[in-house]
């Protein structure tokens, strides 16, 4: 039995039935990680010894008839989540030596479920990027084609799940950083409603946009983990006090009558023909399942990328001010005075993209520019949110492509930041409006995966997951494994 190709759901059943042990499963996956690390570079840290301990403990619990649906299931965490006693780097030189003294709420919750952490995944530095090429530890490669990017910023997490190194990888999404790599790597990526998952312990990039979520092979697997991850956290003031539904129980909701909105602006110029072909084929499957397709128009959505590239840098320029070489993180050698300590520690610790965004953010918040840029962007944000709200009075779910194209070549978009930023064109709107959204595999373009994006109303995670699940029962795109990783 190739355990690594089994779904999380199947693994859970197998563990409970004692078909195999968590120790066996963990050992296998640790070996796979190590074997594929040179090519993929999907992980920054591997936590083998503690993983084996946790696996053994999980087996013990299961043997006694205890534990829950996730006990003994291995996972990897994006290296943006603080993990107690384990290096947490955010893929930056700034935190190369940082060992977190506490667990993020998400980490603690999944640990409490008995999940086994295999390591921390690679990412774009401080979550800033759409290709996982800005990491201090080198780029991650797409298991479908090693010359291509896996997407970003959660490239390591997406590649790990695609390459079957772990059945679940945690990730974060600020402008598309879960959905876009999910699409480029042929896996299922889920970004919950803003406030659904605690941000405590998730190193902040853009506080009003960041949200923690899941990368799995299927929507069914996502439901299993999301049910445990989600929920109110009193340590996060932006965490919402809404009960968490049983997403697993709700998966088989019938689809018929569901109204699907096709965003006209998503199908305009810039969309790759193969991508359009696959997305439209997916929509026909939905029609077959009883859904109705309607066209909606969200004209202000075109401004979502510029609005995002004002708001996100503004927030990050402030969030990253704490990295100053004083209490933790990189410190420049022999600073001659305080100014030198700050400037060199930060200059040396941060990569170029991070510095670029900090400077953009500093600029748009500065005196004389605040109204024209920051306030304007927040107003456009409200326009976009209002448009979504309007659309949802007519439809239940919005669908379209996740990305303009399939995975591009490493190094091909790094020259001009704007070209890279435009990768987020379909995904950013959901972050600005705080809406839940996901990407599921829907086909291929020249052997490279493509994704279908679903966007729902606030707190409609269950609806999205069941809609995705319905599609995944009819199709098998999500079951494809990259050649060489079977």
């Amino acid at each position: 039995m190739s355990l690594h190709t089994l779904s999380l759901k199947r693994l859970a059943a197998g563990l409970r039935a004692r078909e195999f042990s968590s120790v066996e499963l963990t050992r296998l996956l640790l070996a796979r990680i190590e074997a594929h690390q040179p090519q993929l570079n999907a992980l920054i840290s591997q936590t083998g010894p503690s993983a084996m301990q946790a696996a053994a403990a999980a087996d013990g619990l299961l043997a006694r008839g205890g534990g829950g649906p996730l006990t003994g299931i291995p996972l990897v965490h994006k290296d943006i989540f603080c993990t107690e006693g384990v290096r947490t780097t955010c893929a930056s030189r700034m935190l190369d030596n940082f060992v977190a003294p506490y667990d993020a709420t998400v980490v603690a919750k999944l640990k409490a479920e008995g999940m086994v952490m295999l390591g921390k995944t690679n990412m774009d530095e401080f979550a800033m990027g759409s290709s996982n090429e800005t990491s201090f530890y080198g780029p991650v490669r797409n298991p479908w084609n090693l010359k291509r990017v896996p997407g970003g910023s959660s490239g390591g997490s997406a590649a790990a799940v695609a390459a079957r190194l772990a059945p679940f990888a945690s990730a974060t999404d600020t402008g598309g950083s879960i959905r876009q790599p999910a699409a480029l790597c042929g896996v299922t990526g889920f970004k919950p409603t803003y406030g659904r998952v605690s941000r405590y312990g998730m190193i902040a990039f853009a506080s009003s946009l960041d949200q923690g979520g899941t990368l799995t092979v299927s929507a069914e697997d996502a439901a299993l983990v999301l049910r445990a991850m989600a929920g109110f956290d009193p340590r996060d003031s932006t965490s919402v006090e809404q009960p968490v539904p049983d997403y697993v129980a709700g998966l088989d909701q019938p689809l018929s009558g569901m109204k699907i909105g096709l965003v006209r602006e998503f199908f305009e110029k810039g969309l790759d023909p193969d991508n359009e072909r696959c997305v439209r084929a997916a929509l026909r499957v939905y029609e077959k399942l009883g859904a109705k397709l309607l066209e909606v128009s969200l004209p202000n959505l075109a401004l979502s990328v510029p609005a995002y590239y004002v708001v996100a840098p503004a927030e990050c320029s402030s969030n990253l001010a704490r990295f100053d070489g004083v209490r933790f993180g990189h410190r420049a050698k022999d600073p001659k005075d305080l100014m030198d300590l700050y400037k060199r520690s930060r200059g040396e610790g941060f990569g170029a993209e991070v510095k670029r965004r900090i400077m953009t953010g500093t600029y748009v918040l500065s005196a004389g520019y605040y109204d024209a840029f920051y306030i304007k962007a927040q107003k456009v944000r409200r326009l976009i949110a209002n448009e979504f709200e309007q659309a949802f009075t007519q439809v239940d779910v919005l669908m379209g492509p996740t990305t303009p194209t399939a995975a591009f070549e490493l190094g091909s978009k790094t020259a001009d930041p704007i070209t890279m930023y435009l990768n987020d064109i379909y995904t950013i709107g959901a972050n600005l409006a705080g809406l839940p959204a996901m990407s599921i595999p829907c086909g291929f373009s020249q052997d490279l995966p493509l994704g279908l994006q679903l966007i729902g109303r606030h707190f409609a995670e269950g609806r999205l997951l069941s809609a995705a699940h319905a599609y995944q029962r009819e199709t098998d795109w999500h079951t494809r494994v990259p050649p060489g990783y079977e």
Partner: protein, 94 residues
């Protein structure tokens, strides 16, 4: 974007940028700012800025109770320079 502007932004943000790198930052920032300049054409007279994606929510209040204890040794394990429990920086003259 002039080199002086870049230098002043970098200074505000406490980032050391190599002389050689300045032109590249100048270029990228100029291009980003022109890109976001598109926002100008949006009709926003009727709307208020949106700082949080979930409208209508208000700040939760925490009861005034002390629950934290002294863990400074653990926290200072990550500190680059500490003496007598204090974080050290090059001397500041006020």
């Amino acid at each position: 974007m002039t080199p002086e502007q870049i230098a002043s932004i970098a200074h505000l943000a406490r980032l050391a940028i190599d002389e050689a790198e300045l032109p590249r930052y100048q270029e990228s920032l100029a291009s980003i700012l022109s890109f976001v300049g598109d926002l100008e054409r949006a009709q926003t007279q009727e709307v208020s800025p949106m700082a949080h994606p979930l409208t209508g929510l208000v700040q939760r209040l925490r009861p005034d109770v002390v629950t934290e204890t002294d863990a400074h040794e653990l926290y200072q394990a990550n500190a680059p320079q500490v003496a007598a429990g204090l974080y050290l920086v090059p001397k500041v003259i006020e």
